[in-house]
Symmetry: C2
Subunit: 370 residues, 2 copies
């Protein structure tokens, strides 16, 4: 008996043993030739995974919230107009964050479970000139997924920089950053990227970097300032030592292993696998006569599924029974009735994990109702 | 043959196998009961290691530069006067950082290898009222060590918050935060704390937290804002789940292991061991007829030693020969003639590592001169 529960929450997730081994390997110097190669190779692999051949990748020690902060702090100057497309908890957070940097923020938001219509976004973009638009690709709080291709196109049409918060989507959901005209695609390591939490990751387009270089005010966040980090990313990619802050050596080594595995799987195959697992899980949900939080299945993420508890169920009791059956799932992040639970199915998760999760939920349901 | 060089730079350092195993262990949920216990226990252990029984500890994903940024961003408001006591590279950095938050910065600095005199600091404090004073306890660029007890006393005497940059000192050099009246003692995980890079750590005094709560302007750094983090630290310490950003689960698990080992060694024994290793290494330096960068041995750190190359030596060639003998040492961080090298001797380093380093340098010297 391996004696460990399956971690099927929307991040952190199950990680590949090879990734964990790299994380726990003896640490090398941050300027040792083998580490410089690891860092440089990871930056290059990000361009492959992000599908952004001319983008500028950043790898920085911190959480996914830092990745959101990097885009906000570096691209917003006081007085800039920003449009936040909000589909839940993380849209609200982005509005707060951008306000902190002096942005005049307009929010268009959807009711829980709904997406914000592309038409609605276009109406707002027609009415005023915005510098920046942010949207949550997959909202971790609800499993609702927006359409990045349509939003990227709107950004190009109206001359607005688009920021895709991909904390719960990059390397799981289909994203073609450069083809779709997205200016910043950001994420954290612990979701579909497949590395324990501790890295803020993003790729910025040339247009985003140009906007950054055109700032007339300094970035009011020292640690997050791209002026400090850009020379470091450029140096490592040129396979030269450089220093601003000590990089998280073990984490970068683990990132390289995971990115290599992602690239070896291939992005198209990876997108298809995530869709297949999501379909499998949602079929089971239908069989239990439960309903998912996203109102339309086409707007439900492939990386996680949020499911309303049936009325006769005590949510906490149910989740505890799932844990006893060997699988950790997450509660809802938004309050309100009815409550809901969330299952993450991304990254290194395999078909057996999905099946084990379905069976554990099935057992727990029967126990609750017996 | 274990096939790995000894990492004797001033961070990252050699880590305990138990710490690396915890870092590479399968990841648990950030709200799982066992992780909540790990996080809460780590916060409590920080108070022991920092000798700050009533301080407020923070554990945040990021580098040591983020730890410096946290103190600056949260304690400085535009127009505040700050005094930076600079003994090298990291003092200059702190001046830049505080200016970013609108501080009027005064720098008192010493020439390379010298400390700033306590009298000199007092003269400046007498002449004007400062809100904040920062100093680098051990400057990683030179190995120069300032006296924190004397500076803490000055802070109390003149009503100035004192920030000890302990990136290269906490858990190696003697620091009694509360007894010595130091308001913020900050560090990174990868030095004497003994955990691979990726955690910004600090303990703030009640006076520092009061100053933070008395701010009249918001913190202009979203990720670093203590308003976001304080409720999280309080919740984990009360053994309750909470969420702002996903904590670096594996790193916190590794931190708990290392802090437990530090506490088990005992702070007095740990200070004494670091002093003994530093003395051993410096005795060898004298035997080679080389001189250390700090002008007085009493101002030379116990965590690292910076040593000038003799005139007849090509520094790069010499360092390569040391690496070939199995030990990685670091070059100087400051430019200028003569050049110098740095040896870290902190944290999990043991007597054998020190002896192996001395022997490797000895061999390299003989080779260079043969």
């Amino acid at each position: 008996m391996k004696g460990r529960s399956l971690l099927m929450i929307p991040g952190p997730i199950e990680f590949e043993p090879e990734v964990l081994r790299a994380l726990g390997a003896p640490t090398t110097s941050h300027v040792a030739p083998n580490f410089i190669e690891t860092f440089g190779n990871s930056l290059e692999l990000m361009r492959t995974v992000w599908m952004a051949p001319t983008g500028q990748p950043f790898i920085i020690s911190g959480s996914g919230t830092l990745a959101m902060d990097l885009a906000g702090a570096n691209l917003i100057e006081p007085g800039d107009k920003a449009l936040v497309v909000s589909t839940g908890y993380f849209g609200e957070r982005y509005a707060n964050l951008l306000s902190r940097y002096g942005a005049q923020v307009t929010i268009v938001s959807a009711e829980m479970g709904h997406v914000v219509g592309i038409d609605e976004i276009e109406t707002v973009l027609k009415a005023d000139q915005y510098k920046l638009l942010t949207f949550t690709h997959v909202d971790t709080s609800t499993g609702v997924r927006m359409d990045p291709q349509a939003i990227g196109a709107l950004g190009k049409k109206y001359g607005v920089l688009t920021v895709l918060d991909g904390v719960c989507s990059v390397a799981g959901e289909e994203i073609r950053q450069e083809e779709w005209g997205l200016d910043v695609v950001l994420t954290a390591s612990q979701k579909a990227i497949g590395v324990p939490p501790g890295l803020a990751l993003l790729v910025a387009s040339q247009a985003a970097m140009k906007a950054f270089h055109s700032r007339s005010t300094p970035v009011s966040n020292y640690y997050g300032d791209w002026s400090n980090w850009l020379p470091i990313m450029e140096a490592y990619e040129a396979r030269k030592p450089s220093y601003f802050a000590t990089p998280p050596v073990n984490h970068v080594a683990a990132l390289e292993v995971s990115l290599e595995m992602i690239a070896a799987e291939g992005m198209e195959a990876r997108f298809a696998r995530h869709k297949e697992f999501a379909d499998t899980f949602r079929s089971a949900v239908k069989g239990w006569d439960m309903s998912i939080v996203p109102r339309e299945e086409s707007n439900s993420a492939n990386t996680l599924t949020a499911v309303y508890y049936p009325e006769d169920l005590d949510g906490n009791d149910f989740r505890m029974k799932v844990v006893k059956a060997g699988v950790i799932i997450a509660g809802g992040l938004l309050k309100g009735k009815p409550g809901y639970f969330r299952v993450g199915h991304m990254g290194a998760v395999n078909r057996n994990d999905i099946h084990a999760t379905i069976t554990a939920i099935d057992h727990a349901l029967k126990q609750c109702r017996s």
